[in-house]
Symmetry: C2
Subunit: 336 residues, 2 copies
DNA sequence: GCCATCTTTGCAACCGATTGCATGAAATTA
DNA sequence: TAATTTCATGCAATCGGTTGCAAAGATGGC
């Protein structure tokens, strides 16, 4: 409650009987400063609960130590990106915090073309994290043109050079297929996100590889696509059940779609997993609480967030472009 | 791609043949500057795509125009606060953006006591937005002691003076009860969040008022509490069904709990809404997609977010403490 | 035609840090 | 003992804005 009188390094300097520069160097642990002086200054700072002024430091160092998490306005329909984004934000935040970076969240209007300038060239943020979204390619293009540092969740476009982190989608698809095969299911269905998404293509590729290796035929009629929203999951499932009623297992590209698909299956009077085994993707927190609890391919979301943060900072500091993929694992529950 | 050469107001000043101060005033639309000069400077700024330097401005004005959204690390179990928080963040973000404020998201470790200093006294943020969380009272105390501006979602503690926005919980409880009564249900149950939460008490109060007015008895055996997590919703429902098997309707304090409660009801071999009608709270996006689609009390979440943002900024500028409540409405779907 | 007033602009200090360079004292070497 | 390094510190410029005050020119009243 008492107004603090020691607010700036100049105040500390006065108390310690040294100059501003010495205080600044001491607090930044510069080797130029003698140990006793450092110790005195530090204890003074601690004693008076000194907090350095961030805007001044940012102006002086010409960097904001702030990263923008780019997302879009939420819409009526619920899509995997939202919940997934929420969970990954926790990992990003902790990764950033451990390097003393702040996390700014910006909701970008799809038609806005100037957002990147407004955040980057004003010095408000040093870099961006892009999640999956319908406008991602446009955003990537804007940032590349601007020369602004960024990292994306998801597979980079071929021939473009920028940082990315993604799950190991091929292995994910393979694990799902292998598990369903090991359950002795005969007619396996695939419900994917949009077919133009590289993630989806990779998952399908892994899935088909595993089928081939097991000597199974690929039946195009058993492949459906949605847009990652839960409604689209239910609809794709219904189409699949109509086209191919004998389907007895399905690999769905997201937990949210999978949960909706299970509802659709029940609505048709069939049982999960008795009649149709269902396997999801992501292992969102809700997967453990669905009915029945969802067997799924876990993406290690907190880890993914942490790596996104770390690799972006790495890039800021060294210019090193990294493209890493995070391992996935099969989580066995009740639905398959 | 080309390095921009016009980066500072000094550059603009040179081009326009005026001084830095004039440019600064012109861009801030100061009445001190002549119209033609203003026009010339503005067109110059537009032409060169000038973006003002935020850290410098913040240092000079001694305010960051940034608000912190305080949340906690996500945990294994999924709680309403998370999804609710996600949805409200969209509203907050748009409210802040329209006043040219930035949104910083900070995940506070429950044992951390210095977070507020680290953000407020460093000048990184001008104020805080607190959502419901187990540590909320501790956070409120910390911020009050620090004299830092903040606003909370939820009912303020009696006798404490700070800004808040909350849903109209009494009316919410009343609407739920009136609807269940109008359905001719006889044995109404109540599953609340933690009983020490004022929100929960108000919802219960509204609910009981409506029962009383309808000439119904309040049966304490039909009242259960959880902690807003989905698991707790399922457990409370099971306890309720065991204690009072004749229950034919239940008002659950959150959508997430309600959805879990519906699963619990089905597990006991009973039907929703045939045997037991269920009504939720919040109208999260998932409510429309549950099985069956959930009848619920809608909190206008985007509006709530916008008002949180606006009232906090209002407080920063005028010191006016506001405590507002946002109207709620009944959303009819299939579960009741 | 002179003085007071109003409008528009510039000067220079300031916000609170960081950092290149100069300097003085202490330690080392010859 | 004198010359040379090394170590620790301070001076002052700088980052890019905002703003109080002075001043110059335009306008108007009498």
């Amino acid at each position: 409650m008492t107004k603090r009188s020691v607010r700036t390094i100049a105040d500390i300097a006065r108390l310690a009987g040294v100059s501003k520069s010495t205080v600044s160097r001491a607090l930044n642990d510069s080797p130029l400063i003698g140990e006793e002086t450092k110790a005195k200054i530090r204890s003074l700072a601690r004693e008076h609960n000194f907090q350095i002024n961030a805007p001044a430091r940012r102006l002086s160092m010409r960097q904001s130590r702030t990263i923008a998490f780019v997302t879009h306005a939420y819409h009526k329909d619920f899509s995997v990106a939202d919940l997934f984004g929420l969970e990954i934000m926790g990992g990003i935040s902790s990764g950033l915090a451990s390097r003393e970076y702040d996390l700014l969240v910006i909701h970008v209007d799809p038609n806005d073309t100037k957002w990147a300038h407004q955040y980057y060239e004003t010095g408000r943020v040093d870099g961006f994290i892009l999640m999956t979204s319908t406008r991602k390619q446009a955003h990537v293009k804007a940032l590349l043109e601007l020369g602004a540092p960024f990292i994306t969740w998801g597979i980079p476009q071929p021939k473009q050079k920028y940082c990315s982190v993604t799950g190991d989608n091929v292995t994910g698809g393979r694990l799902a297929a292998e598990h369903l095969i090991s359950l002795d299911r005969q007619r396996l269905g695939f419900i994917g996100g949009p077919s133009y998404e590289l993630e989806v293509q990779h998952r399908l590729a892994g899935y088909e590889e595993a089928l081939n290796e097991a000597g199974r035929e690929i039946d195009q009629a058993l492949i459906e696509h949605g847009d990652f929203s839960n409604t689209s999951g239910a609809e794709a499932m219904k189409r699949l059940l109509k086209k191919a009623p004998q389907v007895d297992a399905v690999f769905v590209n997201s937990d949210l779609m999978a949960i909706a698909a299970m509802d659709a299956i029940r609505e048709e009077g069939r049982h999960v997993p008795g009649d149709v085994a269902v396997i999801g993707y992501d292992d969102l927190s809700i997967a453990a609480h669905s009915n029945p609890p969802l067997t799924t391919i876990r993406q290690n979301i907190p880890l993914a967030g942490k790596v996104l943060a770390q690799n972006l900072i790495e890039y800021l500091q060294t210019g090193m472009v990294t493209n890493v993929s995070i391992p996935v694992e099969l989580i066995l529950r009740k639905s398959a």
